[in-house]
Symmetry: C2
C-alpha cells in the first residue's frame, strides 16, 4: 500500500512538474492511462488513481470519450509573479497604490507630486471654462493622430529653448508621460532585451520594465550623472537596447547631469546599440537648465519625453514624445493601434493654461516656494541624523541617508501604520545599500507629525 | 578574379544571412578575419575585402583595436512589417489615420463615429463648466487607481441592467475602450498565442493584435452571432487564448447575437481555455437589449469593456473594464505600471453628462435619427446595386455587398481621390470575399456627393 501510494505521487508530481514548466500547456491532452502506465512501468490502476486525484485538485479534467486534459486557463500575467517577490512595503507598485489610494488625512512625503494648493488652480479652472466654449469638433471628435498643432508647436519651441532642434511634426501627444515611455518601450523592446536605468531611479520605471519582461541593469548615479565606468562596462557586457533616464533634475536624487558627463555618455552611446529615453518631467523646476542629451545628440538616438503632471495637473493628463520624424510616424501607428487616440480636450485645456500669461509667474513663485521647502525639510531632517546625499539645486525631492543601522523599509512599515507614507530607497534601487536611503518630497513634508513619527520609528529601530 | 569575387560574395551573403536570421545580433562581434578565412578555407584578403564591403554597406563597423561588429541598432518594431504587407488603401491603420487626419471638407462614410452635431454638445459644455468648479483635488491630483467611485457605481448599475452582476469594485476606469482592450491583451496574451476574432470585425482589432504578435483566427459572423461550427473547430484546432467580440450591435455588420447562439457559444467556451473580451461600445444605440455574454457567464471568463466615444465625446476620453475582482486587481497594477493613472477630470465630465438628466433624452432622439439615417442610406444604396448584408435593427453601420465584379479596395481608392473616405471590406476581414463588401456609417452618409462619387467609381470599375 505504501509503495503504491508513492507511485501515485510520482505520477502526480511528474504531471504537476510538466504543467509548471509548461511542457504540458493548458488544454493539452494527457497520455492515455494505458500508455502512461506502460511508459512508467506502473499499473493502470496507479495511473487512474493519480488522474482522479489531479481531477480533484482541479489540475486536469476528463472529457467524456476523449481523454484527460490539462485544465485552463493559463494563469494570466501577474506583475507580482514576474521576477523576484518583493516585500510589499518596498514594492514600487504597492507604494504607488498606497499613495494614490491614501485618504486626505494621510501624510505623503513619499509621493511624487505637489499638494493641490501648490498647483495653478485658477488657471486650470479658467482653462476648463474656456474649453467649454471650444468649437464643436474640438469637444466631440477624435483628435488628429499627432494631436493639437498649437500645443505641439509650443512644445517644439520649449524643446528648442533647451537646444533640442525639433518642429511640431516631431511631437506626438499621448495621454501621459508614462504612456509615452511605454509606447517607446513597445516600439523598441522585446522580452529579454537589456535596459539600463539609473540606480536609483523613479520607481515606476521598475514596474514598467517588468511588464516588458526585459533584463534591467542599474547604473549608479553620481552627483553629476550616471557613473561612466559602470555605464561603459554595462554597454560592453550586455549590449543593452535602451537607457532610460531623467533629464533636468534626477528623480530621486535631485542630481543634475553635468555637461562633461553628458558628452562622455553620448560618446559611449554612439559606439553602442543604445537608444535613450530622456524623461524631462521635472524640467520646469530648474533654475538654470542642465544639458539635455536630446540636444547634444540632435534627436539621433535620444527620444525626449515630457508631461504636465507636476506643474499643471495630474488629473488632466497629457504627455508627449519628441523624436526623429520616422520614429514619430511609427509611434503614431502604435498609438492608434493601442489607444486609438488621446484626450483632445485635455490638450486644449493644458494649452490654455500654458499660454494664458500666468504660467511663467506660477512657476517662478513655485520655485521660490520649493527652495524654502527644500531648506526647511533638510533643516528638520538633519538633527535626526537623516542627511541629504547631496543638497539638490532644484526640484521637489531630497534623497537622504538614514542613521547607521536603520533600515528604510522598516521605517516605512512603522510610518504607514501611523498615517505617513514614505518612499524607502529599496523601491528605487536594488543595490544592497538602497535600504539606507529615503526619498522625501519637500512639498509634502511640512508637518510636525511626519518628523515625530519618523523620530519614533528610528528610536524603535535603533 | 571571377572566382575571387564569388568567394567575397559568399562571405558577404553568409554574414547577411546570419544578421537576418539573428544568429548575429546587432552589437555582436564578428569572427576575426584570420579565423573566418581559416574556417572557410578562403584567403585573408578575401575576408578583408568582404568585411570592407559590409562596412561600406553600413552592415558592420570596425572598432579600432577591437575588431568588427554588427551595426546597431536593431530596426524598431514596425507595425507595417509585422505580418503580410497590405495595400495601404485597405490597411486598417491607414484607414484610421486617413479618417482621423481628414479635413472638414472631406466626406467620411467610412469612419466609425458620429458627426459633431449629432453629439450632446450642450451637455458636454455644461459638464466642462461644472468641472471647472470641482474641488481642488479632483482638478489637480492623480485619481485613485480604479477611478471616480460615483462613475464606477453608475457603470456597475448600467451593467446590472444588462444582467451583469458587478459592483463598483469590479469596474476599472481607463483612458479609452481601446486602452482597456489593450490592457487585457497585455494581461493575458504572449506572442504566438491564438486569438479568435469575428470575421469581419472592427478593423482596429487587427492592428491591436498585430502589436501583441499573436496568431489571429477569424470566425465567420452570421446574422445571429459567430458561426458555432467554425468556432468549435477553431477551439479544437488551435487551443485559443482569447476571443474578442462586440456585444449589443456588431461592428461592422450590425448583427445581433441571439440568446441561443450566446448560450451555445458559452458552452463551447466553458470547455476550452478561452477568455472573452466583450466590447460593448455601441450598446446605447440598442432598441431592445441583446444578450450579453458577461451576463450569461456571470463574469467568470468574460471581461466586459465599454466607453463613451460614440455617445458623449470622442475627445474627452474614458473607457472601462468590468471583470472579476482578482483580475481587476491585477489589471490595476498593470495600468499603474504602464500609464500610472487615467484622466480624472474626464471621468468627472462624463459623469456629469451622464447624470444631468438629458442623457436618456439625447439617446432616445439619437435612435430615432439613426433609424431614419439607416433607412435613407439603404434607400440610396440599393438602386446602385449596393445591398445590405442584413438590415440592422440598430446602430450606425450597414455592411453592404457591392455589385458583382466590383472590388471594394478599388472603389475606395477612387473615392479617396474625390474627397470620400470609405471603409472597404478588406480592412475588416481577411476572407477572400471581403473585397465585395463596404461598411457605411449611416450618420456620415447623408450627402449627394458620396453617392455620385460611388456611382462614378462603380462605373469606372465595371
Amino acid at each position: 500500500m505504501k509503495q503504491n501510494k508513492t507511485k501515485i505521487e510520482i505520477v502526480i508530481s511528474e504531471i504537476e512538474q510538466q504543467i509548471k514548466n509548461r511542457s504540458l500547456m493548458p488544454g493539452a491532452r494527457l497520455p492515455s492511462v494505458r500508455k502512461l502506465a506502460n511508459d512508467l512501468g506502473f499499473s493502470v490502476s496507479t495511473v487512474v488513481e493519480a488522474y482522479e486525484r489531479l481531477i480533484a485538485l482541479g489540475k486536469i479534467e476528463s472529457r467524456t470519450g476523449s481523454g484527460f486534459y490539462i485544465v485552463g486557463p493559463l494563469a494570466p500575467l501577474s506583475l507580482s509573479e514576474l521576477g523576484p517577490k518583493l516585500d510589499r512595503s518596498v514594492d514600487p507598485l504597492w507604494i504607488s497604490r498606497q499613495s494614490l489610494e491614501a485618504k486626505a488625512d494621510v501624510f505623503k512625503p513619499g509621493c511624487g507630486w505637489l499638494p493641490d494648493d501648490w498647483m495653478p488652480l485658477d488657471s486650470i479652472r479658467k482653462a476648463l471654462r474656456s474649453a467649454a466654449r471650444s468649437p464643436d469638433d474640438c469637444l466631440m471628435g477624435y483628435s488628429t493622430p499627432l494631436g493639437l498643432p498649437a500645443l505641439r508647436d509650443l512644445l517644439a519651441r520649449r524643446a528648442q529653448s533647451k537646444g533640442i532642434n525639433a518642429n511640431l511634426n516631431q511631437v506626438l501627444l499621448t495621454d501621459s508621460g508614462t504612456q509615452a515611455i511605454d509606447l517607446v518601450c513597445r516600439f523598441l523592446l522585446k522580452p529579454n532585451d537589456v535596459v539600463l536605468i539609473d540606480d536609483p531611479c523613479y520607481f515606476n520605471f521598475h514596474a514598467l520594465l517588468k511588464v516588458h519582461q526585459v533584463k534591467v541593469i542599474g547604473i549608479p548615479y553620481t552627483p553629476t550623472g550616471p557613473d561612466l565606468e559602470a555605464f561603459k562596462k554595462a554597454v560592453e557586457t550586455y549590449n543593452p537596447r535602451l537607457y532610460i533616464t531623467n533629464s533636468g533634475i534626477h528623480n530621486p536624487t535631485g542630481a543634475v547631469l553635468s555637461l562633461s558627463t553628458a558628452h562622455q555618455l553620448l560618446k559611449l552611446i554612439e559606439q553602442s546599440n543604445l537608444i535613450v529615453v530622456e524623461d524631462d518631467i521635472f524640467s520646469d523646476f530648474e533654475y538654470s537648465p542642465a544639458p539635455r542629451l536630446a540636444a547634444l545628440d540632435n534627436l539621433s538616438r535620444v527620444i525626449f519625453i515630457g508631461s504636465f503632471s507636476k506643474t499643471l495637473s495630474a488629473s488632466i493628463r497629457c504627455g508627449y514624445i519628441i523624436a526623429k520624424p520616422e520614429w514619430i510616424d511609427q509611434l503614431t501607428d502604435l498609438k492608434i493601434a493601442t489607444s486609438f487616440s488621446h484626450n483632445g480636450v485635455s490638450a486644449e485645456v493644458l494649452l490654455s493654461a500654458l499660454t494664458d500669461g500666468s504660467y511663467r509667474k506660477h512657476i517662478e513663485l513655485l520655485k521660490v516656494r520649493l527652495a524654502k521647502a527644500m531648506h526647511d525639510t533638510i533643516t528638520q531632517l538633519e538633527p535626526m541624523g537623516i542627511k541629504p546625499w547631496i543638497k539638490p539645486q532644484a526640484g521637489i525631492f531630497v534623497w537622504c541617508h538614514l542613521p547607521k543601522g536603520v533600515e528604510a523599509s522598516e521605517i516605512a512599515k512603522y510610518c504607514i501604520n501611523h498615517q505617513v507614507i514614505l518612499a524607502p530607497g529599496n523601491a528605487f534601487s536594488q543595490a544592497s545599500n538602497a535600504g539606507q536611503f529615503i526619498r522625501f518630497n519637500v512639498t509634502q513634508s511640512n508637518h510636525d507629525h511626519i518628523y515625530e513619527t519618523l523620530a519614533d520609528a528610528i528610536q524603535q529601530e535603533s
